[in-house]
Symmetry: C2
Subunit: 343 residues, 2 copies
DNA sequence: TGCCAGATTCGAAGCGCTTCGACAAAGTCT
DNA sequence: AGACTTTGTCGAAGCGCTTCGAATCTGGCA
């Protein structure tokens, strides 16, 4: 029912193939012919059929976004990856297809790549050792990552600069006068499965604190308020000299604040908290509003797509150096960080 | 490079078309032939090419999810729509494609539908009067909505039951003893563009309060803490008898709590707050944890897809009654609602 | 004026699959 | 036993586009 290329060709009085050349710029077409063709297209309201195009050319202009759905759902940050990626894709004339790949279900992934539906993939929630990445590599499908494996090799990625982020968090607290800072990480299970951010933030924090020459304590913590509360009490018991906490765990931080309430400590007068890698959309909901190092989530999503497209659109024979980028988080000072108490 | 249907056919020693019939069940195939074919497929690791299939059959098994990105980004609830929809699609063997359609950009939508890429669409963030819906109708593309227009007619949808939700919120507060309850809505602009939830919650609240025979005040409020704070002070000035607030505005509610702090009112001892249509993922972050009517977001996403698929997979000549479903929110009692103060 | 390189354009062969009409083989009914 | 379904299978015609080799048409130059 919709007009086809042959209809355009007839109306412009040229061969079908000429229309194709005019449309894609595959071969030179004289200015006058091109004009006639364009006009015919407009008049007919022609839209190339993506399927036919894909079948014939082996390029679909569809990208897959691999996002596993972890135990307790995705947050604001992940949503921003998605919208950023979708936007960037659209701007470049690509479509973004959602592939809810459970980590276990490698079969799904094979199914997806085998269908010839997608040109490339963007992998989210990458672990240090990620079988999806291996599989994509084997499948020969171009892809890039938001996050990175322990040894990305020549795989392109865009990730948060955790080294810098933890350094910034500590710098902020040191400027305020703190000299003993703790770090509350994601859950032990995130650490044990080798979830990238968890491991890297821990390492970054360790190094940053030791470079800065300050005392620090570090531990994982379950993703809920109760665990956060317990963790705080334990930390205080074992390290009473602690005056501030860097937290990369939005759910646990609530528990920490509740624990502070319990012992009638005020934030930031008696204790400071800096959240890292959490969106202001979330920290603004807390009272007092948390100081945070906000991740450039939308940017990461966009960048992930751009990196992937660079790869896809490069002539196939060029050596193409992988693009690997680390983006810093942005410090947003809230009301949860201040000078340490003069105890 | 990957095996094609003809390869399977040769290996099983049947005609190409027989393989197709065996694969799709389009025509009967004898058990023995079917077995041979299946074995050949396995041995070759055959995967049907989605593009070719789509081109020939006019059915792509791809659905589009139309989600506009409003001013200040999407929240947890929207993310859950997406994951719910993506999951449901996958379970039914469909793909979900993200179509970040700005409301203004009807052109994008035409582009999408014109490409023959998608079988149907799921529309999010529906307004009472939504041009996307009109356009999809004209385009003759099957679709369903998460949300609904003012007059959905025969269009299928899944939406929150705002009538019930506001009634439940009021019932909860009345049980606690409140007799004068206010309602803080979304922003005036949401109201004026006719964003469905905003309008329907307001109506629902009005009716529920009046049915319950209690006093109530109702007003929109900007989506930020400052506006929330100002709104509360104004409400208190004009209606000092107010003892509780129902709020459908996650960002403004923070401002309300700050305002309460300012006048040294405690929640819930001096004033009660019930959040509606906000995820516990969010209300758990507040202190005190907000009582909320949590929307069944994931369910809505799933349901939206199911409804759409029912339509798609029904034989084309049947009359098919539209499926229109309203889901209630679930009351999660937090620490923000209690008996009114004995003033 | 005649011949050739270069610039355009054409026709046809697929891309990998679905689907339709036809046909052979195997019952079914009277 | 002959005419007629039914069941299972085959071959061929597309689906709407890209792409390749070849044909056509310029103008330039001898």
């Amino acid at each position: 029912m919709p007009p086809r290329m042959i209809d355009v060709a007839k109306r412009a009085d040229v061969a079908l193939s000429t229309v194709s050349y005019a449309l894609n710029g595959t071969r030179p077409v004289s200015a006058s012919t091109r004009r006639r063709i364009m006009r015919a297209m407009e008049e007919l309201g022609y839209r190339p059929n993506a399927l036919a195009r894909g079948l014939a050319s082996k390029r679909t202009r569809i990208l897959a976004l691999l996002f596993p759905t972890p135990e307790r759902g995705l947050g604001v940050t992940e949503m921003e990856f998605v919208t950023g990626a979708a936007d960037a894709a659209r701007e470049h004339g690509y479509h973004l297809m959602l592939a809810p790949s459970e980590l276990r279900d490698i079969h799904e992934l094979e199914h997806l790549t085998g269908q010839g539906l997608i040109d490339g993939a963007l992998v989210m929630e990458v672990r240090l050792d990620d079988e999806r990445v291996d599989l994509l590599g084997q499948a020969g499908l171009p892809f890039s990552m938001i996050g990175r494996t322990s040894d990305p090799g020549t795989i392109s990625y865009a990730d948060i600069d955790f080294e810098q982020t933890t350094r910034d968090a500590i710098a902020h607290l040191m400027e305020l006068g703190h000299r003993c800072v703790g770090f509350l990480n994601h859950s032990p299970s995130a650490l044990s499965v080798g979830y990238g951010p968890t491991v890297r933030a821990a390492e970054g924090f360790r190094r940053a604190a030791s470079d800065a020459g300050i005392a620090h304590i570090e531990r994982p913590c379950g993703d809920n308020a109760a665990a956060g509360k317990a963790a705080f009490h334990e930390l205080r018991a074992s390290s009473p000299e602690l005056t501030a906490l860097v937290v990369m765990n939005e759910r646990a931080v609530i528990g920490v604040m509740n624990a502070l309430d319990e012992i009638s400590w005020r934030v930031p007068d008696d204790f400071s908290i800096v959240s890292i890698v959490s969106s202001t959309r979330v920290t603004e909901m807390m009272r007092p509003q948390l100081t945070t190092l906000e991740p450039p989530s939308t940017e990461l999503g966009r960048l992930g797509v751009q990196i992937l497209l660079d790869q896809l659109e490069r002539p196939h024979d060029e050596p193409l150096p992988p693009t690997q980028k680390l983006l810093p988080c942005r410090l947003v000072v809230g009301a949860s960080s201040g000078p340490p108490p003069a105890r």
